[in-house]
């Protein structure tokens, strides 16, 4: 296949150049406000500043700590909502499985912004959510969009739960139903079957799904901006977006990106490693 290989090399190289640039794009901006291309001339003070800033006590700690807390809460909520759904569709989908999967997939093809816009509509002071709350006695209308962390976390959950359900579904679907029957036949109750059979068998899937859900949450700034836009709930993504696009803090902003990517690289690496291993098992 020399022809194809040649073709591929021709496509591969520029494609990789683009990928490499995308991946290495932050590096050049280490030194001065202008790019420094010679790695031996790099100065690490800004990165050090950014790193120190993101630690507890630093000036970026507010957004960073909030990001960690929001992602943790949202991820937990995603599991609480997503696990039963994935489990139900995988185990009891039956004839309706196709329909259920299509419905679970639908959010992927609705623009994220559209889905957030929907909530902006719903959560207005005179919106439908408040109409519902108003019906109940003793509860007044709430200004949901006025910098409430609960709204932001709800938005994150709403936005990213589909990313959790699908990989989880795939992993639960692979579990052999006979193992669960065997456990029940041996007289084990449903809860213990779940804890001792289903959970361990889906642990890989849970981790992968958790990572794939958490990663975009860390880089999210638009949800916060749409549903709150208050500095009281700003996340690290907002800081990065602010320094890069709105201010002139290219250098500091890129240092923040770099530190954040370094943190996330651990999660990404884990995910890639686990999919690579899963692919090997299939072959």
């Amino acid at each position: 296949m020399p022809g194809v290989l040649w073709l591929v090399a021709l496509f591969l190289v520029p494609a990789y150049a683009v990928v490499a640039l995308a991946a290495g794009g932050q590096d050049p901006v280490f030194g001065d406000a202008t790019a420094e291309w010679r790695p031996w001339r790099w100065q690490f003070t800004t990165i050090g500043d950014a790193l120190a800033g993101m630690m507890p006590g630093g000036d970026q700690w507010g957004p960073m700590g909030r990001t960690l807390a929001y992602v943790a809460i949202a991820l937990a909520a995603c599991f609480v909502i997503g696990y039963p759904v994935a489990y139900y569709v995988a185990r009891y989908g039956g004839r309706r499985r196709g329909l259920l999967l299509a419905l679970l997939l639908a959010p992927f093809w609705i623009s994220y912004l559209m889905r957030m816009l929907a909530w902006v509509n719903l959560l207005q002071v005179d919106g439908y959510v408040n109409d519902l709350i108003d019906v109940m006695p003793g509860l007044g209308r709430v200004a949901w969009l006025d910098g409430r962390w609960t709204t932001v976390v709800m938005g994150l959950v709403y936005g990213y739960v589909p990313f959790l359900i699908l990989p989880l579904y795939a992993s639960l679907d692979r579990i052999d139903g006979r193992l669960l029957e065997a456990s029940r036949d041996l007289g084990v109750g449903p809860v213990r079957t779940f804890v001792h059979v289903t959970m361990p068998l889906s642990r890989q899937g849970m981790l992968a799904a958790g990572v794939i859900t958490a990663l975009p949450m860390f880089g999210d700034y638009y949800t916060q901006n749409l549903l709150s836009a208050s500095p009281r709930t700003s996340m690290i993504g907002n800081q990065i977006e602010f320094y890069l696009r709105q201010g002139s803090g290219n250098q500091y902003g890129s240092a923040l990106v770099l530190v954040l990517s370094a943190l996330l690289a651990v999660l990404m690496g884990y995910y890639l490693w686990s999919t690579d291993r899963a692919a090997k098992e299939v072959r």
Binding site: L12, Y112, M116, L260
Partner: protein, 310 residues
Amino acid sequence: MTAAPARRDPARRVPNRRRSLGEWYADPFRRPRVLAATTWIYIAWSIVPVLVAIRISFNAGRSRSSFQGWSLRWWTGDPAAALRDPQLLTAMRNSLWLGVLTMIVATPLGVALAIGLVRWRGYGRRPANVMMLVPLVTPELVMGSSLYLVFTTLLTAVELGRGAQLLGHVTFTISYVVVIVRGRLLTIGRDFEDAAHDLGATPIQALRTVLLPLLGPAIFASLMIVFATSIDDFVISAFLQGDASSETVPVKIYAGARRAPTPALNALATAMMLITFTAIVFAMVLPRALRRGRPDDGGSAVEDFAALDL
């Protein structure tokens, strides 16, 4: 477990005997009502807000939070309606062009890359395969900001705007193509190509007459998915946007979601959603329909996209 046989055999069921909670709980054949309810509530929760937003786009009044009767005012009627406001029209045109161009550029690149990756024997194969997944798991913020820095400091020849947006979109959609096409290639295997070679076909001939037709459905699905992803993308478009002339629909929605005074934004979002959905439905239905001859034509925009490639 006395409850289980009783439930399966109604004749043996003792009338008026209610099962205790414990028995119900221990019955392995009971229906998973709680799980089913959770699932359907979740599905309702995930879809109803969007339906409400769509309905608001047909609002007769100005309100974006309460419905005041059906009308097409914010689609076509008002001067600020989605299909009349020049800014919104520009955004829509930008989004569509970006989607189409990304689709045209990224799909062939991705297909070639997938073929190469699958056929690649020897060192570097596994790292390269893993590398292809990296853009899929990279947070868009990281990708968008690094591309932004590349175009503002390194490749200053590329100005922020449509060109930079196209390059960015191609970069992050190629991976989708590779994953889809590679999966199909692995199921096809090498046998057909080997047979073509044995019958005297050159590699190029084998590729053109055997492999590409076999890959047809996967390629078509990639086209549509690239188009849909590109149209829906917000972060990369926003970071690589130049001035207002290169705003896309998601960028416009983002800017206007809190500030916009009218439901025209909902109409705009709904229009784009319809286009995305049509593309996805096409991706699933058309390969099947093609076997029976020319398919019926869908929406006007999708006609163009389908015509571009078929």
